[in-house]
């Protein structure tokens, strides 16, 4: 029996259609029967409904509320304890998320000749500014540091950091620290929380905070606006410990606390001339 070209094409076309249709129906049937048999659905992921959300997180540092050494210490300690920030001792290897800086270092170019002695010697509390236009993010070759689209936090993904330190060179605020050595041995007894505040209650401390990771040798770290606390509905640790000296809220929401403070009082930011648009404001 011979077959001509016309017949061949007809048979080929029909069988292709049959095959495709059969495949998709059998797939559908198989799937629905599987799901019906086990009552299963595809796993999905959602953010914690308790999470605090904002368009752009910002902070106001009210320097008038920092009077004594203790006022600074409790804020810095709260952050450094809860994030397992090591105390190395050598200033060249120092790791810091929030720290004190003199006026002339924090606001270079703004120091006037006859600045009041009070301001001149007032240590300013500085941290990562979570810039709107962050230079660290721009230079990171692995996207280990990135700006969250949802709330403007400049995040660190420690899993991706290769320790090239471009971001440290890029950051004009010195907000980033490099782990020159394994930080674990330096998260010691001194890093235990000396007092039991609301956010540590019920947690057992062996060596630092056991519910937060440490870092390893060769990665860069910095303040993350406590993204891990925001995600479960808590304000950042420093804000909680400061008892009103640090004000935290949504910069895009005109009714937020930060916006109310900013509209009522004169505020300034670090190195505004660089165009990074910091999210941390200072009032005196």
């Amino acid at each position: 029996m011979s077959i001509d070209r016309r017949q061949f094409l007809k048979i080929a076309g029909a069988s292709a259609l049959l095959g495709l249709g059969g495949l998709s129906t059998s797939h559908l049937l198989l799937r629905s029967s599987l799901e019906a048999a086990q009552g299963l659905t595809d796993p999905s992921v959602i953010p914690d409904p308790k999470a605090l959300v904002a368009k752009r997180w910002g902070m106001v540092v009210d320097m008038s509320k920092f009077k004594t050494e203790e006022d600074y210490k409790k804020v810095m300690d709260a952050c450094h304890h809860i994030h397992n920030v090591p105390t190395i001792g050598n200033p060249k290897e120092e790791i810091k998320w929030i720290w004190k800086e003199t006026y002339e270092h924090a606001f270079p170019g703004q120091e006037d000749k006859f600045l009041s002695e009070e301001i001149k010697h007032l240590p300013f509390l500085v941290l990562c500014n979570h810039c709107e236009n962050p230079p660290c993010v721009r230079v990171c070759p692995t996207k280990a540091t990135f700006k969250r689209k949802s709330d403007g936090i400049v995040m660190m993904d420690m899993h991706r950091c290769i320790g090239c330190r471009f971001c440290m060179a890029g950051c004009p605020y010195g907000a980033r620290s490099f782990n020159y050595r394994d930080p674990r041995p330096f998260i010691n007894e001194a890093n235990r929380l000396p007092y039991d505040t609301a956010f540590t209650k019920g947690q057992e401390f062996q060596k630092g905070n056991l519910s937060f990771p440490t870092r390893m040798r060769g990665v860069v770290e910095k303040c993350t606006f406590c993204y891990e606390r925001l995600a479960i509905g808590l304000k950042p640790a420093c804000v909680e410990a400061s008892q009103g000296a640090l004000i935290f809220g949504d910069l895009e929401d005109p009714n937020s606390e930060v916006r109310r403070v900013l509209s009522a009082r004169y505020s300034f930011r670090r190195k505004p001339e660089l165009g990074t648009h910091p999210s941390v404001y200072y009032i005196l």
Partner: protein, 133 residues
């Protein structure tokens, strides 16, 4: 064939060296397969002893799952995992996985040592404290 003996001796020596590891192992007891333990206090307390997903899935896919969780949490800010059975879990190695599997040495290391893989989770994530027994 020129230098036939030398060539043959060379081949014999080569075969000897190449098969040495296999011959050396003949008759020796093989390394026993790993037996990860799940008898932790937290798991004993559970009424229905079930992980986030089925045992077979976890056995073969946990590394993929942990990588997915890592990216979902750190990069996308999604923290809750709704499993195929509808239950919700916080996606956290340190606070969810290790809360039940607090026996890292007998659970994680048992297999990882057997297959000679060294996951770098514990460079940063804090492993649960275990009794030195």
């Amino acid at each position: 064939m020129y230098d036939g003996w030398k060539v043959i001796i060379g081949i014999i020596i080569f075969i000897g060296i190449a098969t040495f590891p296999f011959l050396y192992d003949i008759g020796k007891a093989s390394v026993p397969p790993p037996e990860p333990k799940i008898d932790t206090p937290e798991i004993q307390k559970m009424v229905e002893k079930k992980c986030v997903e089925s045992k077979s899935f976890m056995k073969t896919e946990h590394m993929v799952m942990l990588n997915d969780w890592r990216d979902l949490v750190v990069r996308d800010g999604n923290r809750l995992y709704i499993a195929t059975n509808g239950k919700e879990y916080a996606m956290s190695l340190q606070n969810t996985c290790m809360k039940c599997h607090s026996n890292k040495k007998k659970f994680c290391d048992e297999c990882h040592n057997y297959v000679a893989v060294k996951p770098y989770c514990w460079d940063c994530h804090i492993e649960p404290k275990e009794d030195e027994t």
